[in-house]
């Protein structure tokens, strides 16, 4: 029993550490890719190839002057970034990072909590994510911040609907809401039975919605600098701003992990059962495979950011309500028909 608890604690600590490190280096990758796409070098001064740039950025944010506006609501002003960070880190609890490893005959699954409503948990935490933006934006007592916060809220609510509908179609095939079961179902056909093949439209909708939920370009209207100065974090300085920026990268990492798990086989990789390796090695390779998928998705997020221009607000709403929702409902109907046909 104790080995399980110790293992869980190690797992939680390492997942937390890994998501922070990934988020940290995503900031560097973002700037490097931006440099590449715009035909310039990107940061290259701190350390070899600019590898220490995230540390320098973090140190800069930590040591900057802490400013709390006089007219702001102090408690909520501080609660905003904390909530953003909290909700960003919560989702990782239900993501299966690997199969299981065996220590002294104990089977230790590489997942913090295998609850049987895993997808709903992810969805719930995602829908809470908007509070960080809203509370921070309102507490700043600044018109631009408030506008950013309201944009964030309406955007999140609009895109949550189509996201939920695309998940419903997926759940109709899987017959389970547990993230681990869904991943295991994708291990057939030499670990290549990925749900993206059965749910291409659903995946597309989910992908677009996760861009909107993480406030990434082309949906980054809450922090649209051409109209709203800095959006909801206009008044934030120092590490509080750092938390908001950091939460965005953690969100990106987590939603990449969710997409990889639900649609791209999670820790399954081609020919995973045919290698003849021991369980522990296969599990570790699986974790590696999941991380490769996640990094590819993060790259995709950045690729889109430096390629596609930002939407106008009415275009964003039209896409969400008039295109994605009907498409998602159509997807549900088609999936239902196919499921009935093959029963």
């Amino acid at each position: 029993m104790t080995i399980d608890i110790i293992f869980k604690l190690i797992l939680i600590a390492s997942i937390f550490g890994l998501s922070l490190v990934t988020a940290m280096y995503s900031t560097l990758a973002e700037r490097k890719f931006a440099g590449f796409f715009q035909d310039r070098l990107g940061p290259d001064r701190a350390g070899p190839y600019g590898l220490f740039q995230p540390l320098a950025d973090g140190l800069k944010l930590l040591t900057k002057e802490e400013i709390i506006p006089e007219s702001a609501n102090t408690f909520l002003f501080l609660a905003g970034p904390s909530l953003a960070m909290l909700t960003a880190c919560m989702t990782s609890a239900v993501i299966p990072w690997g199969t299981y490893i065996e220590v002294d005959g104990h089977k230790l699954p590489l997942q913090v909590a295998d609850i049987n409503v895993g997808i709903l948990f992810v969805f719930g935490v995602v829908s809470l994510g908007v509070y960080g933006v809203m509370i921070g934006g309102w507490a700043s007592n600044n018109k631009f911040s408030l506008l950013g916060a309201i944009r964030g809220a309406s955007q999140n609510i609009s895109y949550e609907i189509s996201m939920g509908l695309s998940i419903i179609a997926l759940v109709m095939i899987t017959g389970s809401l547990s993230m681990r079961e869904i991943t295991d179902q994708q291990s057939g056909f030499h670990g290549m039975n990925w749900y993206v093949i059965k749910q291409p439209l659903g995946f597309l909708i989910f992908l677009i919605c996760s861009f909107a939920e993480t406030n990434r370009t082309p949906f980054d209207l809450p922090e649209c600098e051409t109209e709203l100065v800095g959006g909801y974090h206009t008044e934030y300085s120092s590490m509080k701003l750092g938390f908001y920026l950091f939460a965005e990268y953690i969100n990106m990492f987590i939603s990449s992990a969710v997409m990889a798990t639900l649609y791209f086989g999670g820790y399954n990789f081609p020919f995973m059962h045919d290698l003849g390796l021991s369980q522990n090695v296969v599990a570790m390779l699986g974790v590696g495979a999941l991380f490769i998928k996640i990094l590819l998705f993060i790259f995709f997020f950045m690729w889109v950011r430096w390629t596609v221009p930002r939407f106008r607000y009415d275009q964003l709403m039209r896409l969400g309500w008039q295109v994605l929702i009907p498409l998602a409902i159509l997807n549900i109907i088609i999936t239902g028909g196919v499921v009935l046909f093959f029963q």
Binding site: L76, I115, N116, V117, L120, F121, F123, G124, V126, S127, L128, V130, Y131, M134, I135, W138, L146, A149, I150, A153, S154, N156, I157, E160, L177
Partner: protein, 164 residues
């Protein structure tokens, strides 16, 4: 488990009281959020995972966001709050008092039921819940969903001003 229950119950009641006691409407909503969080905790104690998740998503994730959204838009505060007339205040006190009377009357008749340990604790899991809803109570469930659909269409109709 017992301590957890008392903690959650205390939190729920305290934050529910704060909802009505604090002056700032935004703070009220945030306290209401805490109330819903503790109710979600109660559902988890009951092993009603689906109900907990749905409470989380629907109440905390959607309805409360909309409340917050509307109140932020209206920007209610002490100065802009409409002053209520004495008549309205009296009406409020009387109807509130009547509600209290009804509640006191019903609680007076209440008896403590002995704890039933034979209850199926797996009933709240999504599989069992789905079986119950779609087999035993299929018709009421479908009727309720039609009701929601009608309400949704009605909301769209009302929101659309230039309806021809």
């Amino acid at each position: 488990m017992d301590k957890m229950f008392y903690f959650l119950a205390f939190l729920a009641i305290l934050s529910a009281l704060m909802v009505v006691l604090v002056k700032n409407p935004i703070h009220s909503i945030l306290y209401l959020l805490v109330t819903f969080t503790s109710i979600t905790g109660h559902y988890i104690l009951f092993n009603a995972q689906f109900l907990a998740a749905v409470n989380f998503i629907v109440y905390m994730g959607a309805i409360m966001v909309l409340f917050l959204f509307v109140i932020m838009f209206l920007n209610l505060n002490g100065e802009t709050e409409p002053q209520k007339s004495t008549l309205v205040k009296f009406a409020g006190v009387i109807s509130g008092g009547l509600l209290l009377l009804v509640m006191v009357a019903s609680f007076k008749k209440a008896v403590t039921i002995p704890l039933n340990t034979e209850v199926d604790t797996q009933i709240g899991l999504i599989k069992n819940l789905g079986m119950v809803l779609f087999k035993d109570y299929a018709l009421p469930f479908e009727l309720a969903s039609v009701l929601f659909l009608v309400a949704m269409i009605g909301a769209v109709m009302l929101a659309k001003k230039d309806w021809k």
